[in-house]
């Protein structure tokens, strides 16, 4: 093996074709309201954890819906379950319920 002093970067692309969407579909089926998210960011703006860490609930659940599960469970552990996001969501999504659901479904990731 030759050491070239660099390696081949892994793609950052969200590859919908090769992502396993089974868990994502299960989550959406159980709580279809998650699909109603319009990405307004109210949840993240008001998030207790998100103001002190890089936790971003909107981003995490969007990635989960695209089949990007890596790290989602650990990220959601940062949620303090204070419930403020649910109060501010203009689409009436039970965000706290979503946090719990994703954690339950993605315990293995």
């Amino acid at each position: 093996m030759i050491n070239f002093g660099f390696s081949i970067n892994k793609p950052r692309v969200i590859d919908i074709d090769n992502n396993n969407l089974r868990k994502s579909n299960e989550i959406i089926l159980e709580m279809p309201e998650l699909q109603a998210c319009i990405g307004c960011g109210s949840c993240t703006a008001s998030c207790t954890a998100g103001n002190l860490t890089d936790f971003n609930f909107r981003k995490v659940h969007t990635l989960v819906r695209r089949g990007e599960y890596q790290g989602a469970y650990m990220e959601l552990n940062k949620c303090m379950l204070c419930g403020k996001c649910r109060l501010v969501c203009p689409r009436g999504i039970n965000t706290r319920g979503i946090v719990m659901l994703i954690k339950r479904k993605l315990g293995d990731f």
């Binding site: 692309v13 969200i14 590859d15 074709d17 279809p32 699909q35 109603a36 990405g39 981003k59 969007t62």
Partner: protein
Amino acid sequence: MKHIVIIGGGIAGMQCAVELSSLGISATVIEKEHATGGKLASWHRLFPSFTPAEDVLGELRLKFAKAANISLRCGVTATEITPRKVTLSTGDELECDAVVLATGFTLFDARIKEEYGYGIYDNVVTSADLEDMFNRGEIVLKNGNKPRRIALLHCVGSRDEKVCQRHCSKVCCVTGVKQAIELKEMFPTADVFNFYMDIRMFGPGYEEMYREAQVKHNVHFVRGRISEVSPTIDGRLQLKAEDTLTGRPLKMSVDMLVLLVGMRANEENAELAARYGLQCQESGFMKPQDNFMHNVESNVEGIFYAGTITSPKSVGETLNEATTVALRIKDWLQKQ
């Protein structure tokens, strides 16, 4: 009896003639095609209520046929327009008291956005093609199969400096959501994705339909514009976009791509402006006197505008505006 010449036999022209008739003013409608109805004649269903376009057009045609003092000239164009006289391509001259320009819009030619491969790759269709497929009752791929994954791309030929169409075509967002629901109803197990820059749900029931598409029909919405379409080895289409809400590039393959083509101004608008002293907007659509109290009057006395000649509009808005034109004309004639 006062007489008005209306150029364009789409829904704006027809509705305007019907309303003028009820106000005791006669009208002649000039239509370049061989039948009335304009672009609506080839549409399948209308947002947000999924009303068959045929129902709306059927009722309008019936009123048009029954109304007194309306004459229709199909298959002809106007070669010279003045507020008091319109010359036709047949050489006929029509005396009148005012003219209504209701020549509508042009659908954006999706071939211009080369990166989407319309006309090059199979199964890249426009929203208008899709309505046509709905009318024929069959949505099939080139190979005869049913689509299992479909993407709809918003803003094709709208809000795009690269193709000189800076304006928002307004109706495509709603059409995209409507068509996504219709596709889901036809193919419940298919995945349907909408790629959008902004979703503009400006009318009554539109936002509700959007939410229904998301929650009830599980239509996926990705905020990001598709930048490139290429073929895959199995005859599908690979799309590249950014999922801007996660800040990551995204790629996927689909069986069918629907391009939501925008409404652009007719090429002839510039000529109308140059020949008759009218004014165009930056978008190429005709410019009314103002956007409020004189929004259907041109800057030339006796020449009025109805419908999408001045800007993209929905069917409902167009019908409303055509009614307004009739009332304003009556007002204007009385002041003469």
